[in-house]
């Protein structure tokens, strides 16, 4: 789960989404201290920033557990509405002598699958080679050669000319994917720990250096940790955990952005070699469009950088007092502080920001947390045990950002805010506090029946005064029925039924209860700086403000999540086979969100308790040890999850909520639809849903082809959510050797392959290769000269659009052969030509070998057993993927970790990686 890479953490949600537009990722708690895990998301262009959960050294983790369901998270309060990931780091407890561990590994990353390109036709238009043309609709590459003109600056071999008229050096296809390189990582980890009656310590040091598959993409992380505890007296234990992390990254531009790596790379004409130089001596850019259009990816990788530098300190102290055998107190308080420095620099000459750009952002983030717990345990009778915990929590989360930018750099390659006359500065603050009191009563009877009841009251600053306080309860019941006399046998070893119900609450984001003015600036969707701001202040030497177009609301209530679940845990054959089954049902009501409203109201959104959602599903896990002998064992672990997440209600007058994506397609929340449905334009269809194939020779549409229905606007065209997911881990151990592999399955869900849809327009996608067609004088296809393999009959029924826009279907299946030629792909066969997004939806199922690890456990070595143990291992990630999706790995998402899943528009490719490691214990 805590995969540490410059590529991003996958988007994690637990049991569906609890929020519509807000954060749906779980709370991370490390040693009792909630930590910040912001970042990791972006819009459709720019870079994805790193998710801050990567600041943990995975080797420091002793246990990691995932809390699902309201009853489990009730005590974590408003921040755990999306579940919680509870991490405990290592300590020296239970050690009797000093333990030193050393762990080193090296790894290689490579890009995985890439969109297929046609290799037959050259750059140009209408079968003519044109220098700098954005398309590859030129003549066949095999019919061309170079003219050898060295004065032609765009290609060292000269221009392309018909065979026999040049220097005989044949034209060729250049593979743009050669741009990607092997990424390498070197990871060294050291730890020392010890423990005794008096106390214990754990100290670790680690360093990771990583280079990406994109040149100059880098990531590095250095961590330091000291966990120690000491017994002050028999009754009092004092401990402290401290961790320091420095992480640093250089991220590269992606997505819908004329400087996006994949945008320039995939559109590159077939006969243009990006690698033959990206910059001329005068500093101007060499790219396939003779300087304009999109940036050469080499130019981007070398001249545009988004740098992150994070220094983070996390620490907490813990005091526990055992007053009597029955009464104890535990106080835990800590901080999570980090400062982040972002530098975003664009050299002069990009097509995105031609005049150059620099942004500096300094951000300070601070979390404070304090938990006081008083626990009373009492054995009321031999069989009846109780434990009561009373607690109190204070929490604050504070963020301050200062940012300045400079548009239009005067001195090339000098990245200072003073290097421009167009500077803007801005500050941003987010400050919230909560406090809580809670009680937790646990009763157990005869180790057979377990009853738990919790109650918690929260106060939060972000709620309006009258609704500051919220109370929420939970109850859970467990019944270990295998304790019933006579049920246990060699076959049946353990059986437990459980049920729980809980209510949790979530609070509004900061500053959403009132309305403000904000610095005036605006965007038109076409132009602008790196944040798409086209006009801003200062302007004409003055400052300016607009009323904030997001309307606040002083009547907000808490949003609530009511959950219940039932489950069973059954174990057989002396616990060698176990099955765990859970059914859960979450109802989220009064969801807090900015609701988009008609701009004619003067505002773009208003903050409301605006929606309800329901998610329900099942989780099954199976673990088995089919073979267990002295030398050989086989262990098997499988998980299956199936759930639906339906939007059940939206505020009065709100039909849908935009979650992300483009003007078309876009990801929305709509009543009655799965959360995160994708909406886009579709073809004209008849009442039975058949695509209309135009049969009217008098209209402007081509006969034999479908037509985009722009009149009906955006309709649901699928969603990325799986029908179900499953994973299976097999671990085989023979003596000191072990092999384990994890297979991951996602079934169902579709993804927008906007990459291929746009590549069609440029004539570079593989599907444009069957383009050759000849027509007779009357406009019909000449079947004698047109290659037969190019003829296709498009799926649908004959029909056309009547004079008043009405749909007229004949109901007769289309049999007219057509060729998907340049006109088609520059028309409705691509998004640029007006094709509907529905035509670019592709199934995004997968089966993947997510992880494979082969390990050899070292025996004790050396005199006096200097080396007490260790391991040599090899592991691979994503070594094999089977997916019908024709683009990059469908696990990548354009916006990174956002609620708008299922968008592929020149996304950076996924990676597969190989790691070789050595662990030694002294």
């Amino acid at each position: 789960m805590l995969r540490v890479k410059p590529v991003l953490l996958p988007y994690i949600t637990i049991r569906g989404s609890a929020s519509i537009t807000g954060n749906n990722q779980p709370l991370f708690v490390v040693n009792g201290q909630p930590i910040d895990t912001g970042g990791g998301d972006s819009g459709t262009g720019g870079v994805n920033t790193s998710n801050r959960s990567i600041d943990i050294n995975p080797d420091d983790i002793a246990t990691l557990s995932v809390l699902k369901g309201g009853a489990a998270t009730a005590l974590y309060g408003v921040r755990a509405a999306n579940g919680a990931i509870i991490i405990t780091t290592k300590s020296g407890k239970n050690l009797t002598q000093r333990k030193i561990e050393f762990h080193t590994s090296i790894g290689v990353d490579q890009i995985s699958q890439t969109p297929a390109r046609q290799k037959k036709y050259a750059q140009g238009n209408n079968s003519t080679w044109i220098s700098g043309d954005r398309r590859s609709w030129g003549p066949e590459i095999s019919s061309l050669e170079y003219d050898g003109d060295t004065s032609y600056q765009w290609d060292p071999n000269g221009r392309l000319v018909p065979k026999g008229t040049g220097n005989g050096n044949p034209a060729r296809y250049y593979d743009p994917y050669e741009f990607f390189q092997n990424g390498y990582q070197l990871n060294n980890r050291f730890s020392i720990s010890n423990g005794s009656e008096q106390g214990d310590y754990f100290f670790s040091l680690s360093n990771l250096e990583q280079t990406g598959v994109i040149p100059n993409n880098q990531y590095g992380r250095t961590t330091l940790r000291l966990n120690a505890s000491t017994k002050i007296s028999d009754a009092i234990t004092f401990g402290a955990n401290m961790a320091y992390t420095n992480s640093r990254a250089v991220q590269i531009q992606k997505g819908s952005n004329t400087s996006g790596i994949m945008l320039g790379l995939l559109r590159t004409a077939t006969t243009f070699d990006n690698s033959a130089g990206y910059e001329f001596p005068d500093g101007t850019q060499r790219n396939y469009r003779n300087g304009g259009g999109y940036d050469n990816p080499y130019w981007v990788a070398n001249n545009i950088a988004y740098k992150e530098d994070v220094n983070r300190f996390t620490g907490n102290i813990n005091l526990s007092v055992q007053f009597t055998d029955e009464l104890s107190l535990n106080y835990n308080t800590g901080i999570d502080w980090y400062s982040t420095k972002f530098t975003d620099q664009f050299k002069i000459g990009s097509n995105n920001l031609p005049a150059g750009y620099l942004k500096e952002q300094m951000e300070f983030q601070s979390i404070f947390n304090s938990d006081l717990l008083l626990t009373y345990r009492k054995d009321i009778s031999n069989k009846l045990n109780m434990s009561l915990t009373l607690g109190n929590n204070f929490f604050s989360d504070y963020n301050k950002a200062l940012f300045g930018d400079a548009s239009g750099l005067e001195i090339p390659d000098y990245y200072q805010l003073n290097n421009s006359s167009a500077n803007t500065t801005q500050t941003g603050t987010a400050n919230l506090r909560t406090s809580a009191v809670f009680a937790d009563l646990q009763l157990s009877f005869d180790d057979m029946i377990f009853l738990g009841v919790t109650g918690r009251n929260d106060w939060a600053t972000t709620m309006p005064q009258q609704n500051k306080s919220a109370f929420y309860p939970s109850a859970s019941l467990g019944f270990v029925f295998s304790e019933i006399e006579g049920l246990k046998s060699d076959f049946f070893s353990f059986g437990k039924l459980r049920a729980s119900a809980a209510r949790t609450a979530n609070i509004a984001p900061v500053y959403s209860t009132s309305n403000y003015f904000e610095a005036a600036n605006g965007a038109d969707g076409w132009t602008g700086n790196n944040d798409n701001i086209a006009y801003q202040f200062p302007y004409q030497g003055q400052t300016g403000f607009f009323v904030d177009d997001d309307l606040g609301n002083s009547d907000l209530k808490h949003e609530t999540q009511d959950t219940w679940e039932v489950g069973a845990d059954l174990r057989f054959f002396k616990s060698r086979l176990g099955i765990d089954f859970t059914y859960f049902n979450n109802t989220n009501t009064d969801l807090l969100m900015p609701v988009p409203i008609a701009a004619s109201s003067g505002f773009n959104s208003v903050f409301l308790n605006a929606a309800s959602m329901e998610s329900k599903g099942i989780e099954i896990s199976l673990n088995a040890s089919p073979i267990k002998t002295e030398n050989f064992s086989w262990e098997f672990l499988a998980n299956f999850t199936q759930f639906t997440n339906i939007v059940t209600e939206l505020a009065e007058g709100v039909d849908n909520i935009f979650l992300g994506g483009f003007t078309t397609p876009q990801v929305r929340a709509v009543v009655g639809e799965e959360y995160r449905s994708i909406f886009g334009e579709d073809w004209y269809r008849d009442a039975s849903g058949n695509i209309l194939i135009n049969d009217d020779p008098t209209d402007s549409y081509r006969d034999g082809y479908p037509m985009t229905n722009t009149a009906q606007g955006l309709v649901p065209i699928g969603n990325f959510n799986p029908d179900w997911t499953a994973n299976m881990t097999n671990t085989l151990t023979y003596k000191n050797l072990s092999l384990s592999f994890l297979i991951d399955v996602k079934k169902g869900g579709v993804m927008y392959n906007g990459t291929a849809f746009a590549m069609n327009f440029f004539g570079v996608s593989e599907r444009t290769v069957n383009r050759e067609v000849y027509y007779n004088a009357d406009g019909s296809i000449n079947f004698d000269t047109t290659p037969a393999e190019n003829l296709v009959v498009m799926d649908g029924v004959y029909g056309h659009i009547g004079p008043d826009g009405e749909i007229i279907s004949s109901g007769v299946p289309n049999v007219t052969p057509v060729v998907q030629d340049q006109d088609w792909f520059q028309g409705q066969g691509s998004n640029f030509g007006g094709g509907p997004s529905s035509a670019a939806m592709e199934p995004a199922d997968w089966v993947r070998l997510r992880d494979l690890t082969f390990a050899y456990n070292l025996p004790e070595i050396g005199k006096g057993k200097t080396i007490k143990g260790g391991q040599i291992y090899f592991s691979g990630r994503n070594l094999w993927i089977d997916t019908p999706y024709s683009g990059i790995d469908p696990e990548t998402n354009l916006g990174g970790a956002t609620n708008a899943q299922g968008m592929d528009y020149f996304n950076s490719p996924g990676t597969r990686s190989y790691t070789l490691g050595l662990k030694l214990t002294f």
Partner: protein
């Protein structure tokens, strides 16, 4: 025994301290923490005004308005990507969202905020109110000429919980525009002004110029009603012209600068998908018009050329400095437009002075665009050549490149006559813009059902 009791006391003390903590919960979560320190709750009028003006310049005469309708008017030609598809009149609801949104949430609501603030007791500023009324009327006028019916009487009232405002008919909007401008003139004449105008990047607080602008915008919308009101439209226009602009110095322009560059400049820098249209360039070439080098850049061959209709000729001339220099001002209205209105009104009424007004209009246009009088060219091509409606509208079309007026005039007069794009997706040049996606999505019950061929009120 004693020891145990001691511990019990300690336990009690701890329970008490929990209670103390609980009481301090209220203090820890003080509501003042939820006041955003980085955003003001109140702002003086002089800091709101320039934002409205900047947004009007960027959006009303920018990429989502003029770039599109000047492609339709064949002043520009879309040679690639979205500009190319717009050239076959493919313009959908999501394409006009930014324009509509910026009109309502930037220009118009902030204008109404100034008008309200200008009424604060003891801090009255009819002058600020008058300027904001001119800005509101100008925005609404350009908006309704593109969109027809629009929310106005119930608009900008999200704060009063009106989230789905009703639409006012265009005839009613035209009445509101006229009323706003009359009120503006009254306010600008007021002598009871406490807060002086500041932050005005258009006229630097020159109230006389604002009054002229108010009358000039009145004239624009009076003449726009010729199809409905005939001679009454001409007479109303002439009455307003009398108090309107008197020279190019009065032009209603929004400046751009190095830090905030002209929208077409930014488009050509970042997108590059339009060229000059052959229709306009050929008109200019035919008379060796001195405005040519200001409207078009030289092409690669050192000539001025337009891209022929739908030819995707990306070798044609780029837009020239008058339209696309980084600091080329956005023209909300010009003296030359007013003189064309006067000429048309006099011509329509059969009154004397049409010829003089026409010649003055072209002279003002040439002087404004080229910086020189170019008398010889005027004498050879304009002066003394008897004005007809066609010549007048053709010259107004040339003068209005880079504004919304050629499109408004074309729908009203059919002049100059234009060829339909051969790959048009509709049967004639659109009569309007579609309603934006945001209104279709969030104001569904009120937004009128229209197609690109539905005529606005004054076009019927």
């Amino acid at each position: 025994m004693k020891k145990n009791r001691n511990i019990t006391y300690k336990g009690l003390a701890l329970i008490l301290s929990v209670l103390v903590f609980t009481i301090s919960c209220e203090k820890w979560t003080d509501s003042d923490i939820n006041i955003d320190p980085d955003k003001p709750a109140n702002v003086p009028m002089g800091l709101i005004l320039p934002g409205i003006q900047q947004s009007m310049g960027y959006n009303l005469v920018g990429n989502n308005s003029v770039r599109t309708n000047n492609i339709w008017m064949q002043i520009f030609e879309g040679v690639d990507r979205q500009s190319f598809t717009e050239g076959r009149y493919q313009l959908v609801s999501s394409d006009v969202n930014n324009l509509w949104t910026n009109m309502y949430t930037e220009m118009m609501i902030n204008s109404t905020i100034i008008i309200d603030k200008a009424d604060d007791e003891g801090l009255e500023s009819p002058h600020f109110a008058g300027i904001a009324q001119v800005l509101l009327a100008t925005s609404l006028g350009i908006g309704t000429d593109l969109f027809g019916d629009m929310p106005f009487t119930e608009a900008f009232k999200g704060g009063e919980n009106i989230l789905s405002p009703v639409y006012d008919g265009q005839e009613s909007l035209y009445g509101s525009i006229n009323t706003l401008l009359d009120q503006a003139i009254g306010n600008l004449n007021s002598t009871n002004n406490v807060i002086d105008v500041s932050g005005d990047v258009i006229y630097d607080g020159d109230l006389d110029k604002w009054k002229k602008a108010a009358s000039s915008i009145k004239a624009r919308h009076a003449i726009q009603q010729t199809k409905r009101n005939g001679n009454a439209a001409y007479s109303a226009a002439l009455a307003a012209v009398a108090n309107g602009f008197t020279s190019n110095d009065d032009d209603f322009l929004v400046p751009f600068e190095d830090q905030n560059k002209n929208p077409i400049f930014q488009f050509m820098e970042q997108r590059t998908d339009i060229r000059m249209g052959a229709n306009l360039i050929d008109l200019l070439l035919a008379t060796d018009d001195p405005r040519l080098p200001f409207y078009a850049e030289e092409d690669a061959d050192g000539n001025y050329s337009g891209s022929a209709l739908r030819s995707q000729n990306s070798d044609a001339s780029f837009p020239g400095p008058n339209l696309a220099a980084f600091d080329a001002s956005a023209k909300l209205m010009t003296y030359s437009e007013l003189k064309f209105i006067e000429a048309e009104a006099r011509l329509g009424l059969g009154q004397a002075g049409a010829q003089e007004a026409y010649e003055a209009a072209v002279a003002a246009s040439v002087l404004r665009i080229t910086g020189e009088a170019n008398t010889a060219w005027l004498d050879a091509n304009i002066n003394g050549d008897p004005v007809t409606l066609e010549k007048l509208m053709t010259q107004k079309y040339i003068d209005g490149a880079g504004t919304n007026q050629p499109y408004a005039d074309y729908r009203r007069t059919g002049l100059p006559s234009l060829t339909l794009a051969p790959d048009a997706v509709v049967s004639e040049i659109p009569r309007r813009f579609p309603y934006p996606q945001g209104e279709l999505d969030y104001n569904t019950q009120n937004v009128p059902a229209v197609t690109l061929l539905t005529k606005v009120w004054w076009d019927q």
